[in-house]
């Protein structure tokens, strides 16, 4: 009976106000926020070579080492990562400004080819993981292929 009470109490406490464990991994924490949120704002606000390199590294970490209870990248992350990799200046920016540990995340230093392939792969992965994204992502893939 004690076990039943304990399980019931834990369930109620966890479910009320949404205190469940995280569904996703957001790249670790920095200060009082996540690395993803910190960089998303900084890059959105003003892109710098450093913020682009940092963002590539955080995205790569989030898609290759997913965490949380769902063990997959959060919604939109593969798409954002793919889109960033396919931007014309990203490969050159990364080649010229990334740290050695950031470059070490990739198995090749031919970033032009690598980022093109990885970018397309990521956009397709978004649809694979989240089929509802196809309405938005498929036209984006076609547009970027032109």
């Amino acid at each position: 009976m004690r076990k039943i009470i304990l399980v019931a109490l834990t369930t109620v406490l966890l479910s009320s106000c949404g205190f469940t464990s995280s569904l996703y991994y957001w790249g670790g924490s920095i200060g009082g926020t996540t690395k993803y949120e910190d960089l998303a704002y900084k890059t959105y606000d003003k892109q710098t070579p450093k913020s682009i390199c940092d963002l590539v590294a955080v995205y790569e970490n989030m898609v290759t080492k997913p965490g949380g209870s769902r063990q997959m990248p959060p919604p939109g992350i593969c798409a954002e990562y793919g889109y960033l990799l396919l931007q014309p200046e990203t490969a050159t920016t990364f080649m010229n400004n990334a740290s050695s540990s950031q470059k070490g995340l990739f198995g090749s230093d031919n970033y032009d080819v690598l980022f093109q392939e990885r970018g397309k792969e990521m956009l397709e992965k978004e649809i694979e993981l989240y089929p509802e994204s196809a309405v938005f992502i498929e036209p984006l893939i076609k547009k970027l292929a032109k």
Binding site: M1, S15, S16, E37, Y41, A134, V135
Partner: protein, 224 residues
């Protein structure tokens, strides 16, 4: 014994996390449960303050609480590029109009609108007044609506009792707000505002949380 368990469960459910309410999510958000949106598009906030950063801060930190609640959130960073290309990023133009185009081009079931009326530093924190509305793209019905008067407390507290630790906390708090940790503030605001939203398709609590206590529709609180 059954009565004791019932009392303990009831007490736990109404008192945990500070939500003391007899209103359940099912009654508070009936339209949300009926509409059952899966895909959510976030529109850029309407900023009525002189703080130009507030808009981007809120916009870039809204995905996480909604994704963690189990929804598919269309990347605001990508959506913004498309909205800009179509000259459709002005939320004021859409908040009272048809949202059908967002269903067609983004596959969105619902759209999040927000309005920032206050975003100002006060002491070791930030005073905010924000209003959120989530509307269905098929019926245009309001699914979720909340006005928040939040003080986002960014002060540092190491829980130390010595004079030195108190002075250290004061110094860290001063530096923290001097460099304006507004990213953390925006994250706190969005997490707080959406903490009782009905869970979406990707949450294990999807459609299982109808009996959970809901926050009042309008909130005034200090968020630590």
């Amino acid at each position: 014994m059954k009565r004791i368990i019932a009392i303990i469960l009831l007490a736990a459910s109404v008192s945990s996390c500070g939500i003391v309410s007899q209103v359940t999510r099912e009654s508070q958000y009936a339209a949300m449960y009926n509409d059952m949106p899966t895909t959510i598009l976030v529109m850029p906030p309407i900023n009525n303050t002189s703080n130009v950063e507030a808009k981007d801060l809120l916009y870039t930190s809204i995905s996480r609480p909604l994704a963690e609640a189990g929804y598919y959130v269309i990347s605001p960073l990508l959506a913004m590029d498309v909205l800009k290309a179509e000259s459709a990023y002005d939320s004021e133009l859409f908040i009272d109009g048809s949202l059908a185009m967002f269903k067609k081009y983004f596959g969105a079931d619902a759209v999040v609108f927000s309005q920032i009326d206050t975003w100002a530093k006060r002491g070791f924190g930030i005073d905010t007044k924000i209003r959120y509305i989530i509307k269905s793209t098929t019926s245009n019905e309001i699914l979720f609506e909340r006005s928040c008067d939040l003080y986002l407390d960014l002060s540092h507290n190491s829980n130390g009792n010595s004079t030195l630790s108190i002075l250290t906390d004061l110094a860290i708090s001063a530096i923290s707000t001097a460099t304006t940790d507004h990213i953390e503030a925006a994250r706190k605001a969005n997490n707080y505002i959406f903490r009782d939203i009905p869970r979406g398709k990707y949450s294990p609590l999807y459609l299982q949380d109808k009996g959970v206590a809901a926050e009042p529709k309008d909130i005034k609180a200090t968020v630590k």
